[in-house]
């Protein structure tokens, strides 16, 4: 009982100060006496570190190491600090993470949740900097203007690779960033209202094939992974979908429930309540993963033999010139944070644990390169007019 009351009273004190706006008081969390690393260079390899982190995560799972979310430190965190080699003098102060989307969105939730334990492991605060605009590009552009010292990093999503392929930005995402870690994979599902006339995904495809452009599908904006999936599907069936993009999740959902669109391509976690409440039902899983917990009977698009070009992932990147030792360190920190209960509970609620999506920096980079080529090819195939973008 006591710790929670203690925390409460501390936060009250904190907020009272804010309310009075008179004095700046020292927040209690920043005593970052991080453990010192003895030797440089001859440290363990990345694979070994990851293996050790996994071992600790298992111990936490088995209850052998004490773990208390939100505390200042505990056994699990101490053990992780032991095994993660730390670059010299880093991090000496708070690290800023630029989130290219607004508060409360998917990227924001991912970043803040993985950050919960990451900042405990680092012994430094993470400062979340929401810089929304142009599907994450305004934030990314801002990251490039900051010093490449490892104190400014950004969370990125698939759109960054797509925009790179389409050449909409003055920089190249894939070539100019240092890839830290990829942590979330696609969980999109094709949803219809419960009373929809489409019983199965095949029904919908059949109707779409006969009536090109008449099946309206919604996703998040043009030039998003949603649109490319539909373009690929349409090309395979030699038909077209009426793709109607809405910027906000809310607009998409109300358009589906209000009957303005026929099908919604949306992440599982966002609308799962509507499904459990019986308002919507899934037609097919958008990628190659079948979510057993939702409905094992429903096929995935890949199972049905259709192409699935790209999916929505999320991860962390830094400016390209950041010291590789820092990039590795950050990878290990975020990897470790993702193995701990706080983030895993969040993942489970959003079906991210099923979707996986983890890649280390190197694989993340390779995958992004491949995706960029793939998108560029698709863009050409579908007549995406990218030339006007260069001025």
């Amino acid at each position: 009982m006591r710790p929670s009351w203690y925390r409460r009273s501390r936060s009250i004190a904190l907020l009272c100060v804010a309310a009075l706006a008179l004095a700046a008081c020292q927040e209690g969390g920043g005593q970052g006496a991080a453990p010192e690393e003895e030797e440089e260079g001859a440290g363990p390899s990345q694979d070994e570190v990851v293996a050790e982190i996994d071992a600790i995560a298992e111990q936490v799972e088995a209850g052998e190491l004490a773990y208390e979310a939100g505390g200042d430190s505990d056994e699990a965190i101490d053990a992780l600090r032991e095994v993660i080699p730390q670059p010299e003098g880093y991090p000496a102060r708070a690290v800023e993470i630029i989130i290219g989307f607004g508060e409360g969105g998917g990227s924001d939730n991912y970043t803040r949740n993985v950050g919960l334990d990451a900042e405990r492991i680092m012994g430094q605060r993470l400062i979340y900097n929401n810089v929304p605009g142009a599907s994450g590009e305004v934030g990314l552009g801002q990251m490039f203007t900051q010093a490449a010292d490892g104190y400014t990093i950004a969370s990125a999503i698939t759109n960054q690779v797509i925009n790179d392929a389409l050449g909409t930005q003055p920089y190249s995402f894939v070539d100019d960033v240092a890839f830290i870690i990829r942590q979330q994979g696609p969980t999109e599902i094709y949803w219809v209202p419960t009373d929809s006339e489409f019983e199965t995904f095949e029904d919908m495809l059949e109707f779409a094939a006969e009536n090109p452009g008449q099946v309206t599908v919604s996703g998040s904006g043009i030039g998003s992974d949603d649109e490319f999936r539909l373009l690929a599907l349409g090309a395979e069936l030699d038909t077209e979908f009426g793709y109607v993009p809405f910027d906000g999740v809310g607009d998409r959902i109300s358009a589906l429930l209000g009957g303005d669109i026929d099908v919604l391509h949306e992440t599982a976690g966002t609308v799962i309540d509507l499904y459990e409440d019986g308002q919507i039902r899934p037609l097919a899983y958008g990628g190659d993963i079948v979510f057993e917990d939702i409905d094992p009977e429903i096929p995935s698009v890949a199972d049905l033999g259709y192409p699935v070009p790209i999916g929505r992932w999320r991860g962390m990147v830094a400016p390209g010139e950041v010291d590789p030792a820092i990039v590795d360190y950050l990878h290990n920190v975020f990897y470790a944070a993702a193995q701990l209960p706080a983030y895993r509970e969040f993942e489970a609620a959003f079906f991210q644990d099923v979707a996986g999506g983890y890649l280390d920096g190197e694989d993340f980079r390779a995958e992004s390169l491949a995706e960029r080529d793939e998108v560029a090819a698709l863009a050409e195939q579908f007549g995406y007019d990218t030339e006007q973008l260069e001025e």
Binding site: A19, G104, D108
Partner: protein
């Protein structure tokens, strides 16, 4: 009853304390020119981890409700609203301050907020599901029609010249097209600036249009503030209840605006900003003396206030029942729910009924707390008016810069603010209603997305705009609102034919009429 258990939970000492602290934060952020309620709510997100979902939501609602009210206080006192809603209130609130009736304006401001909030909460509890069913029928074509309806209130913002109001509105709509087109993804009017791809956000724009422009204006004219002295403030009672006459004058206004605002607030994506302007516009168009508005009409303060606070409650409906955020603040709240492992949506009432009822309770309690804290603070607020211009202007500019920056941490927003400051200065010099500009900026995206996606869902057929009952209904209302002033004008002319009043005298008469109302 959900509402009562909710109120009970909010009245627990710890929650009540948080609520009061939240109200204070909201009032401070809302009142300081340059800072805004959205900033306050966004900046509080990290605290939700420490507090837990229920406490965090209660506190945030306190902040939200207080800031919704206080954004207009800054508009009334300094013509420096912190929020779009405040821009509507400032139109009549600021003239009242200039005329020496700041205390009166603020009392009504706060009262209307509380009334709007309470009516909104009641509606939320009683008829939300029915309203929501209608709200869901609002697809893209309806949103386009709604934006047109909103634009009709541009006519009500015209102070004298309709042409100028139209030009300002058009410019605002054009400013809304800057950046990435939400539907086609095309980059428009970014003048080669990568950061502008994110578009022009309306908080920096409003801070520029009002706060910065107001300082520029004072510099240009060489007129400092100092209209109020410590003596004037002594006259204001410690607990500044509005006068009975003002209440009687605005009671139907408040009721109408609350009903309207609540419904508009429920429409996902419309939110309280449109509600405030529509509340104001409707009141002007229903009024038989529209020429009084914009010159210190107390109804012009009550209407947008009641509407936007009621809308704040309304915007909780799609959030709680479907998990759809209706506006910027509710989007942030959705994030707080999710951060705490809760998912707003149809199952929230089943899985965490205590949270849902806490939201209801918090809305009701927050309105009451804002009422009392606000009225107690009237004198304190008015004291801000006595700050010497030198210090005041410096402070406003610093807060304008910090407040603008703190929302998204984008440097480009600061330049947007500066440019809008210059635009706002010229607009004021030449009698262009800045609020029409703001309205255009807010409605631009809604109108265009509604238009483009309206055609999108009907697969290329314009008939969507003429065959859907709610589209037609909204368009008809817009049309009626446009025609009403003409009707009143016609009736008025017939009445006035007897006395051959020149325009100048007429203005004088209306200001004396105001004075009579006051006594």
């Amino acid at each position: 009853m959900d509402l009562f258990t909710g109120i009970g939970s909010v009245l627990e000492p710890f929650h009540l304390l948080l609520m009061v602290v939240g109200v204070f934060i909201g009032l401070i952020f809302g009142t300081i020119p340059g800072l805004s309620g959205i900033t306050a709510v966004a900046l509080l997100v990290p605290f939700s981890y420490v507090l837990g979902a229920e406490a965090a939501i209660i506190m945030m609602i306190g902040v939200y409700v207080a800031a919704t009210c206080a954004g207009s206080l800054a508009g009334t006192l300094f013509n420096m609203p912190g929020d779009v809603m405040g821009a509507a209130t400032a139109r009549d609130g600021y003239p009242l301050t200039l005329q020496g009736h700041a205390g009166r304006a603020i009392s009504i401001d706060i009262t209307a907020s509380a009334v709007g909030g309470l009516i909104g909460t009641l509606l939320l509890v009683l008829i939300a599901p029915q309203f929501l069913r209608i709200a869901l029928r609002f697809g893209p074509p309806e949103f386009f029609a709604l934006a047109l309806l909103g634009m009709t209130s541009v006519a009500s913002l015209a102070s004298g010249s309709l042409i100028k109001a139209l030009l300002a509105g058009t410019l605002g709509l054009l400013m809304a097209t800057v950046g990435l087109d939400p539907v086609s993804g095309a980059v428009r009017f970014n003048f080669g600036l990568q950061q502008l791809q994110g578009g022009i956000d309306f908080i920096p724009a409003i801070i520029g249009f009002f706060a910065v422009a107001e300082i520029f204006n004072s510099l240009y004219r060489g007129t400092g503030r100092g209209r109020y002295t410590a003596k004037d403030i002594e006259k204001i009672p410690r607990f500044a209840l509005p006068s009975w006459a003002d209440l009687r004058r605005t009671r139907w206004t408040m009721l109408r605006a609350s009903l309207l605002g609540n419904f508009i607030g429920m429409l996902p994506g419309a939110g309280s900003t449109i509600a405030a302007f529509l509340g104001y516009g409707t009141e002007v168009q229903l009024s038989r003396n529209p020429e009084r508005f914009g010159k210190g009409e107390i109804k012009g303060v009550a209407a947008p206030e009641a509407a936007n606070n009621s809308a704040a409650a309304g915007s909780m409906v799609p959030l709680l029942t479907l998990g759809i955020p209706g506006g910027a603040v509710t989007a942030i709240m959705l994030g707080v729910f999710i951060l705490n492992g809760l998912r707003p949506g149809p199952l929230l009432f089943r899985d965490a009924p205590e949270i849902a009822s806490s939201v209801f309770g918090a809305l009701a309690v927050a309105s009451v707390v804002v009422f009392f804290v606000g009225l107690l603070a009237v004198r304190l607020l008015l004291r801000l008016l006595t700050i010497p211009f030198e210090v005041f202007s410096t402070m406003v500019l610093v807060f304008a810069v910090v407040g603008t920056f703190a929302i998204y941490n984008r440097t480009i927003d600061l330049w947007v603010m500066l440019v809008c400051g210059i635009l706002g200065f010229f607009a004021k010099q030449y009698g262009f209603p800045v609020s029409a500009l703001v309205l255009g900026l807010v409605l631009g995206d809604i109108a265009e997305t509604g238009l483009v996606n309206g055609i999108g869902v009907s697969r290329g057929s314009w008939s969507a705009f003429l065959s859907r009952p709610f589209t037609i209904g909204t368009l008809v209302i817009a049309f009626i609102l446009l025609l009403l002033p003409l009707l009143w004008a016609y009736l008025g002319r017939r009445r006035r034919r007897a006395d051959t009043a020149a325009p100048v005298e007429r203005a004088e008469r209306s200001s004396t009429a105001d004075e009579q109302d006051r006594s």
